[in-house]
C-alpha cells in the first residue's frame, strides 16, 4: 500500500498498478484536481510552454546528435550533411535552432510575469531561485550549443566568452586553459562542449522537476497576488487549465512554426555558415539575441576602477544600506550622512576622471594601479546582473505582491523592461556605435546603472515607503463581483 490517500480507478489494470506504485494517484492529485487560482491570465501559460519547449529541444537534440560529429575537421560538414542529405534533417535542425530562441522567448515572458506579479515573494522564494538556476543552466547550454556547428560565430563567440574568465585575478589564465584543453578554442574544446551540451538539458530537467515540486507545495500565485482562501477561489487544474494552457501553446507553436518554415535563419547570424577559421575574426561578433542585454552590460564597463573610485562606491553603498535598506540607521556616523555623500561622490568622480585622463597624473589612477580592471568590472557587472535576480525576494520585501496594486513599482518595473530591451539593442551594435550624437557605450552605462539602481535602490526604497492600493478581499469577490 502506498502512503496517503489514493484515488479510485475503475480500470482494474490501472488500479493494480496504482496500488503498487501510486503514479495515477499522483497525476490525479497534482494535475487533475489540483486547486488552481481561478483568475489566471494568459501570462500564466508560459510555464507550460517552456516545459513543452524543453521537451522539444531534448527530442530534436537527441536525433541531431545521432547525425552530428564533434570534430573540428568534420563538425561543420556534418551539420551541412544534416541540412542537405539526412532525411528531414533540415527540419529537425531548424526545429532545434529556432527552438532555442523560442525557449528563451517563453522563459523571458515567464520571468517577466513572475516579477510583475511578485511571484518570487514569500513563500515562493525557493521556487523563484530554482527558476533563476534553470535560466543560468539554459544560458550555459545555449552558448555551448551555438559552438557545435563550428562556424565563424561559433568559434569566435566561444573565444570571446571563454576569454571572459581570464579576467579572474591570478587563476584566470589557468582556468581558460582548462576550459579550452589547449591554447585556443580547438578540437578538445569542441568535444567537451558537445558532451556538456548533451548533459546539461537533463540537469535542467532535474531542476525543472524541483521547480514544479516547489510550485505544488506553495500553489500558484495569481494576477491579484492574494492567496486563495477556499474552494470558491480555485478551479481544478483539469480541465480548466489543461485547456487554457493547450490553447496558448497552440498559438505559441503556430508562431514558432512560422519561423521554422518561413524565416528559419532570421534569428541566427549569417557568419555561422562560414566554416570556423582561427586566423580570421569576423568584423562584428554578436551573441545570439537572448544574450544581448547581458552582453551590453558586459561592455558597459569601459573604465578601470581604481582605489578612489572603489572607496567612493563603498561610501555610497554604506549610505544605501544605512538609509534605504535599514528601517532605522544604526551607524554612529549617521549624522554625517551628507559629508559622507559628498566625499563619496568626490572620490568616485576623482577616480573616474583620473582613469579617463591619465595625462593629469593623479597618483594611483594609472591603469596598472587599477584594483578592478575594465574587463573584470564588465564580467562582474554581467554576472552580478543575474545574482541580483537570485536575491530579488530579499530586495523587494513589500507585502503586496501584484504590480496591479503598486503603481510606483509597476512603472519603475515597466521602465526596467524598456531599459532591458534597449540594452539588447545596444548589445547588438558595434562597440563604437552611436545613437544620434550620444555614444552607445554611454547609454549602455546609464541603462546598466538603472538596472542596478532598480534592484538595489528602488526596490528596497519602495518596500518601505510605497503605500499601495487596497487589496480585494478574495479572488472570487474580485473576479465575480460581490454578488457571487
Amino acid at each position: 500500500m502506498g502512503s496517503g490517500e489514493r484515488a479510485e480507478f475503475k480500470n482494474p489494470v490501472i488500479g493494480w498498478i496504482d496500488e503498487r506504485l501510486p503514479l495515477f494517484t499522483l497525476m490525479q492529485k497534482e494535475y487533475g484536481v489540483f486547486p488552481t487560482p481561478r483568475n489566471f491570465n494568459y501570462f500564466w501559460n508560459f510555464g507550460a510552454i517552456a516545459m513543452f519547449m524543453l521537451v522539444a529541444m531534448i527530442v530534436s537534440g537527441i536525433v541531431l546528435a545521432m547525425h552530428y560529429t564533434a570534430d573540428t575537421e568534420l563538425a561543420f560538414d556534418s551539420v551541412e550533411r544534416i541540412m542537405r542529405d539526412v532525411n528531414s534533417g533540415w527540419l529537425i535542425r531548424y526545429i532545434h535552432m529556432n527552438g532555442a530562441s523560442f525557449f528563451f522567448v517563453a522563459v523571458y515572458i515567464h520571468i517577466f510575469r513572475g516579477m510583475y506579479y511578485g511571484s518570487y515573494k514569500k513563500p515562493r522564494e525557493l521556487l523563484w531561485i530554482l527558476g533563476v538556476l534553470i535560466f543560468l543552466l539554459m544560458m550555459a547550454t545555449a552558448f555551448i550549443g551555438y559552438v557545435l556547428p563550428w562556424g565563424q560565430m561559433s568559434l569566435w563567440g566561444a573565444t570571446v566568452i571563454t576569454n571572459l574568465f581570464s579576467a579572474i585575478p591570478w587563476v584566470g589564465d589557468s582556468i581558460v586553459t582548462l576550459l579550452w584543453g589547449g591554447f585556443s578554442v580547438d578540437n578538445p574544446t569542441l568535444t567537451r562542449f558537445f558532451a556538456l551540451h548533451y548533459l546539461l538539458p537533463f540537469v535542467i530537467f532535474a531542476v525543472v522537476f524541483l521547480h514544479v515540486w516547489a510550485l505544488h507545495i506553495t500553489g500558484s500565485n495569481n494576477p491579484l497576488g492574494i492567496e486563495p482562501k477556499g474552494p470558491q477561489d480555485t478551479l481544478p487544474f483539469h480541465p480548466y487549465y489543461t485547456m487554457k494552457d493547450s490553447f496558448g501553446l497552440v498559438l505559441f507553436v503556430i508562431l514558432y512554426a512560422l519561423f521554422i518554415f518561413y524565416a528559419p535563419d532570421s534569428l541566427g547570424h549569417p557568419d555561422n555558415y562560414i566554416p570556423a577559421d582561427p586566423l580570421v575574426t569576423p568584423p562584428h561578433i554578436v551573441p545570439e539575441w537572448y544574450f544581448l542585454p547581458f552582453y551590453a552590460i558586459l561592455r558597459a564597463i569601459t573604465f578601470n576602477m581604481n582605489i578612489y573610485f572603489l572607496a567612493g562606491i563603498a561610501g555610497l553603498f554604506t549610505l544605501l544600506v544605512e538609509f534605504v535598506w535599514r528601517e532605522k540607521p544604526k551607524m554612529i556616523a549617521a549624522p554625517y550622512a551628507l559629508p559622507i555623500l559628498v566625499a563619496s561622490l568626490f572620490l568616485a568622480a576623482l577616480g573616474f576622471i583620473g582613469d579617463q585622463y591619465p595625462t593629469l597624473g593623479i597618483p594611483f589612477t594609472a591603469a596598472e594601479d587599477a584594483l578592478v580592471s575594465a574587463k573584470l568590472g564588465g564580467v562582474l557587472a554581467m554576472f552580478g546582473a543575474i545574482v541580483l535576480l537570485l536575491v530579488l525576494p530579499w530586495l523587494d520585501t513589500h507585502p503586496i505582491r501584484s504590480a496591479r496594486f503598486r503603481p510606483l513599482f509597476k512603472w519603475s518595473f515597466l521602465l526596467l523592461f524598456v531599459v532591458f530591451v534597449f540594452l539588447g539593442y545596444i548589445g547588438s551594435q558595434p562597440a563604437d556605435a552611436a545613437f544620434g550624437p550620444v555614444p552607445l557605450s554611454l547609454l549602455g552605462l546609464l541603462c546598466t546603472g538603472y538596472y542596478y539602481g532598480f534592484f538595489l535602490v528602488i526596490l528596497p526604497f519602495l518596500s518601505r515607503f510605497e503605500k499601495g492600493r487596497n487589496l480585494p478581499k478574495s479572488i472570487h469577490e474580485a473576479v465575480l463581483g460581490k454578488g457571487a
Binding site: T159, N163, L179, S184, D186, P188, T281, T302, A431
Partner: protein, 189 residues
C-alpha cells in the same frame, strides 16, 4: 551501599554518554574528512584530464622561413593553435616604435624589450582584450591609429611594436619565446 552504587552508575553512565558522543563526533568528522579527501582524489585526474593533452603540448615549436618577407610585409603562422604575426619592419616603423615616451603607454614596454632585431617584430596575434585576431598584416587592412594593428571586435589599436595604444585591451600583444636559427629562419617556441 545501594545508594552509592546508584550514584556511581549515574556518574558512570553520564560519563560514558559524553564520552560516547565525543567519540561519535570524532568518528563522523574523520569519516567525513576521509570522504572529502577521497572525492578530491577521484576528481583530480578527471578535472586534470581536461587540461592540454601531451599531443597538444607537443605542437610547441615551429620553424619559419622569413626570407620571402620584404620590408613592410608581414605574415601569419600558426603556433599552438594561435596566429603569430611576423613583421619585417621598415626604418620608419622602427623609428615610430622607438620614438614613444614609454611613460605614456598603458603597458609600459620600450620597443627594445620586445624585439631581438629591430627590423623583425614577432608577436602573438591575439588581442589581449577578449582574444580576437587583430587586422593589419595585409597592406589593404586597417592598421589603426598607430600604423600597427587594429582589433575589429572592440576597437583596440596597436602600434608598430604591437603595443596597445587605444581601446579596451589591457596589455601589449604578447611576444612568444623565439630565436633566430639563421638570418632568415625563426624558431618559435
Amino acid at each position: 551501599m545501594t545508594i552509592a552504587n546508584q550514584e556511581l552508575r549515574t556518574i558512570m553512565t553520564a560519563h560514558t554518554k559524553d564520552d560516547e558522543n565525543a567519540r561519535r563526533d570524532f568518528l563522523q568528522l574523520t569519516a567525513g574528512a576521509m570522504g572529502v579527501v577521497g572525492a578530491a582524489c577521484v576528481a583530480t585526474p578527471l578535472v586534470n584530464s581536461l587540461n592540454p593533452a601531451k599531443d597538444t603540448l607537443a605542437l610547441a615549436t615551429i620553424e619559419v622561413d622569413v626570407s620571402d618577407l620584404k620590408p613592410g610585409e608581414a605574415k601569419t603562422e600558426m603556433w599552438q593553435g594561435k596566429p603569430v604575426f611576423i613583421k619585417h619592419r621598415t626604418p620608419k616603423e622602427i623609428e615610430e616604435a622607438e620614438d614613444v615616451d614609454v611613460a605614456t603607454l598603458r603597458d609600459k614596454q620600450p620597443d627594445s624589450a620586445r624585439v631581438q632585431k629591430p627590423e623583425w617584430l614577432v608577436v602573438i596575434g591575439v588581442c589581449t582584450h577578449l582574444g580576437c585576431i587583430p587586422v593589419g598584416n595585409k597592406p589593404t587592412d586597417a592598421h589603426g591609429d598607430y600604423d600597427g594593428w587594429f582589433c575589429p571586435c572592440h576597437g583596440s589599436h596597436y602600434d608598430t611594436s604591437g603595443r596597445v595604444r587605444k581601446g579596451p585591451a589591457p596589455k601589449n600583444l604578447a611576444v612568444p619565446p623565439y630565436e633566430f636559427v639563421s638570418d632568415t629562419v625563426i624558431k618559435i617556441g
